[in-house]
Symmetry: C2
Subunit: 612 residues, 2 copies
């Protein structure tokens, strides 16, 4: 880890080496302007880095002047930090402020938030003008007082705020509710928070709703993990302990409140300046955040308490924001198809496409979505943890030292680790590459069996020499003990089987959705890969394994962290909320467990494609 | 006082003799059916009284059989209790149950409450029917789940209640919000509370919203009186003490919660069965109940925080009813024209009349309403406490021993006290009669001056002998010390002046409203007298004093406790709520303080009418 700090904001932290300045800044909650989405094209993310950094790239040499380069000016999206560093962020890279969304596909959402500030200059009351305070404010807003809903606390504060400010005030509307009457010059006056509750990590983004700029970010691990890393363990905890549901809810709500506090501190605002929060998560996280019992999600027939978008008061949600504020929870689709899936559908604009499109989001659970051009089908399947390194002999999470790339070149194996560190295991993307490489080298056949000793003789020496053991104990030595102080790293016959089970489940889901929609898998025109899965796996490996239908590489598209993006677009755009609700009401959930063809499709799908 | 108890309910208490069984039952919170409004016409309020009761009236002999009469069957509206009694209420007089409103004018409100219970028999979920719990319930209600608002606590309880009752449940709707899903057979399932917050007394009525029956009543003194009996003292307390507003709110909210507890205990229900409350009160009580600062009500230009009808959550209101419940506060009109005035307008249906109608409600403050046939004008005037016995030398509140009636017969004075007790002072209705009697006997002239010694010689001996003292110290001895162990009771010149000020203010308000509406006072076709004032004063005395325009006695109508009735009709009828809002938006508030003619009209109005 290297130590990085930013001036003038003072944000600092320890991060893995090799990340861009832009990524590091974001991970520390600092927003750097990057209109081109961090693609090294616009040259606006100028920062000053004096040491610890990779040399200027071609893009930097193209976009920066010689004087700038000599003075240490760099592009935050290009410069990678390899050692401890101090970075100066000039005000015009800072205050222009923060791309809200990282990727082109959803960068052009029109700002139409649910929160608005209105300056009012009201006439003072007199015996000739005895309108009530509420009516005076309503008239100033151009609203009929009979129709204007006023938050009760806002009404209680109104007489004093009006008179302390000589009837010149700012009215804050949350939807059609007058949420506050404030002194006229407070800035920032209207903040919003987008909250992405992941099973593993919780991220809160703070957005200035007057400008749409993301002004701060704070994140931490989901503390519910103390009761289990996976959803089923957490649901079991809720069932087993008397206060289980309250405990789980309290853990997540307390964390969010802490993160919101950190976020407002970053911009010198107060919690009461946050008038709205949007929340996205899988159905279990959604239920736990709302205090809804998730137990029926985990047992047949897998019934959620509700799937609808919900708007509840900040108080009901337990969030320490303005007490007149509201909390919008994105809808979910089914017990195992949550708001993160809705986020994928929302930000990918999948249902706007003319030709059949498939989207896949894989964590422990796999969600598969198919837009046939007319119908939107979604399902979930138990992919298991193999794709994240779980249940794999030497599987590890994606962190420093994890083998993230494996390749075959000239008959021998190469690999790369995260942070170029000494290898300590294989993470998800490395597992994909390993299996693809084993298939390409014929060390594993289409049924998933390792080449036996006889068959191995036909393999290149660089491959054959790494195979050892017999039958189900046969394995492939990816890193020999002699080459690695941390010990040997092998990939076993059982590991191959785990991957087959996982990919078989996902591919069977794809087959069944296509069958349900009445299209062949070869008619799928595009494949969208969501989340960390989509960001990191090698698309060629995914194709080689047969996880995806056969499709040209360029028609496979990553859609990034669609869950967080879903919360952000819902925060800045009420129209996107309507779209989310429409998508959910349009989505047809296909229950694989109820489908007699699933077991057959699953068995078929476990087989790897033959060498082409 | 006599001791009365009812079977089988067990309600009992001490009451004044001479009241009807119906009145006594109501005062003890027991509801007896009386479809004709207690007028001795329908014969349905049958009860059994074996002793302590006046003989059968003509109405009873007409409507009851000889056998019934021999068995002690009586009509509750006719039989008056003169001594200790036990009364049996047969189930068909009890359960058909309880006129909600005492007077014809508002007895025919159609039951259309905001709270409804719906029995649902839902299919159980399966892999083929994976609708969420919320969607299943919405479908059962015939609602679209996208449009059904569900209380958050109701949603959280839903999965367990559905499964514990095999998906056979009752859904309780409050307005368009699903407030609860309950086991199917709980009774009473939907209660409502109508709350009348008076400056002096707070009354809560409990109503079964499935039948519209009033099932219990509980009342007590307003504990805010510890910070002052009048509104101005209470507002001063709010201003002087740091926690003044919270204190005042807490006092009233705590009392209401206690009364609600007593009321639900009377019918064996629970607080959570109350899903809605309606609240009525003058503007100051309204503000204090809602935690709105009343200070601007008491200083020019007398601005309320809001006048609109308000619906807030039970939690915001601090009421210990179902937490999904809501609290509807009737609208107010101006700083000194509150929801009790709205109650008068609502239940009198004054604005439905074709000809000009005047309504007057007098407490410490006087509210005057004029419906011209086209416009609705309302105002308030500082009548002062004289009409309630305040600032009058021997004035007392209406309680046992208060002189409530005074008359002149054959040149001598007669009087009657409440409860036939030894006289201890004069209450409001007695003050009206005293002044009318003094005017009729010429002991006081039209300018309000007592007859001096010379003029007194022309008066009957029975009057002249009671006058004594000189000039401004002159007074009239109503009860001589020799006749009364409790001491002398006199009515002084200053007392006459206090009455003149009070009636002058009210009459001036009448004059100004008529002038504003462009009609003569002689065009007023009817006069409605509201509240305790309207129930107890002698109309002849009010006319004789010149408080009212000259009008035939039969066109003066009492409208009873219109405040409480306003809360009740709003509770049982959402249409009446809409009417209340319409009335308020239609009402034009006339500010007397801003009117240059008021002082002149006030001076003119202090003069009493000449003897006719």
């Amino acid at each position: 880890m290297i130590r990085v700090s930013f001036k003038p904001g003072g944000q600092s932290g320890e991060v893995e080496p090799g990340l861009t300045v832009l990524d590091v800044a974001e991970s520390l909650g600092l927003s750097i302007t990057a209109p081109c989405g961090g693609r090294g094209r616009c040259g606006r993310c100028r920062v000053i880095v004096n040491r610890g950094c990779t040399p200027p790239t071609q893009a930097e040499r193209d976009l920066l002047t010689g004087v700038e380069l000599r003075n240490g000016v760099r592009l935050a999206c290009e410069a990678r930090l390899m050692d401890d560093a101090q970075i100066i962020v000039p005000s015009d890279s800072r205050t222009v402020g923060g791309k809200i969304l990282a990727e082109d596909s959803w960068r052009h959402i029109k700002l139409s938030p649910n929160v608005h500030g209105h300056r009012l200059e009201l006439p003072e009351p007199s015996l000739e003008d005895q309108r009530s305070d509420a009516e005076r404010v309503a008239d100033g807003l151009g609203a009929r007082v009979e129709e204007l809903r006023i938050d009760h606390a806002a009404l209680a504060e109104m007489p004093a705020v009006l008179r302390d400010n000589d009837f010149s005030v700012r009215a804050i509307m949350v939807g059609d509710v007058l949420a506050a009457v404030r002194p006229p010059n407070e800035e920032p006056c209207c903040l919003g928070a987008a909250i992405d509750i992941g099973t593993t990590t919780v991220v809160t983004y703070l957005v200035d709703l007057q400008t749409g700029e993301r002004v701060a970010t704070a994140s931490d691990h989901n503390p519910q993990a103390r009761h289990g890393h996976d959803l089923i363990s957490r649901i079991e905890y809720v069932q087993s302990a008397h206060t289980g549901l309250d405990d789980m809810r309290g853990l997540i709500v307390d964390l969010i409140n802490r993160l919101l506090g950190e976020a407002v501190d970053q911009v010198g605002a107060r919690r009461r300046d946050i008038y709205e929060a949007t929340v996205v998560g899988n159905t279990c996280m959604h239920h736990l955040f709302l205090g809804l019992d998730p137990r029926n999600l985990a047992r047949a027939p897998y019934i959620p308490v509700t799937t609808q978008p919900m708007t509840i008061s900040a108080e009901e949600a337990g969030l320490a924001i303005n007490r007149a504020g509201s909390v919008y929870c994105l809808p979910v689709i089914a017990g195992f198809v949550g708001a993160d899936t809705v986020g994928v559908l929302l930000v990918s604009r999948m249902t706007d496409r003319e030709r059949p499109t498939l989207a896949i989001d894989i964590g422990t659970n796999g969600e598969v979505m198919l837009w046939s051009g007319e119908r939107l089908l979604v399902t979930s399947c138990a992919a298991g943890p193999a794709f994240e390194g779980g249940e794999i002999s030497n599987g590890v999470r994606a962190a420093e030292g994890a083998i993230e790339r494996v390749w075959l070149r000239d008959g021998s194996i190469g690999y790369a680790t995260i942070g170029r560190a000494r290898p300590n295991g294989i993470c998800g993307s490395g597992i994909f590459d390993t299996v693809a490489t084993l298939l390409d080298s014929r060390a594993v056949d289409a049924t998933g069996r390792f080449a036996d000793e006889q068959a191995a003789r036909a393999l290149p020496e660089g491959i054959a020499s790494r195979l050892r053991g017999q039958g189900s104990a046969r394995e492939f030595v990816l890193v020999a003990a002699a080459d690695n102080g941390s010990g040997e790293i092998a990939f076993t016959q059982k590991d191959v089987r785990e991957v087959q089970l996982a990919k078989g489940a996902v591919r069977a889901a794809v087959e069944l959705l296509c069958s349900e929609a009445g299209i062949g898998t070869d008619e799928v025109h595009e494949v969208l890969l969501a989340g960390a899965f989509g960001n990191y796996i090698d698309r060629r490996s995914a194709l080689r394994m047969g996880l995806l239908p056969e499709i040209p590489l360029e028609r496979i598209e990553g859609v990034g962290n669609a869950a967080g993006a879903g919360a952000l677009v819902a925060l800045i755009s009420t129209q996107e909320r309507r779209r989310a609700a429409e998508i959910v009401s349009r989505a047809e959930h296909v229950e694989l467990m109820a489908n007699p063809q699933f077991q057959m499709a699953f068995a078929d799908s476990m087989v790897f494609p033959e060498m082409t």
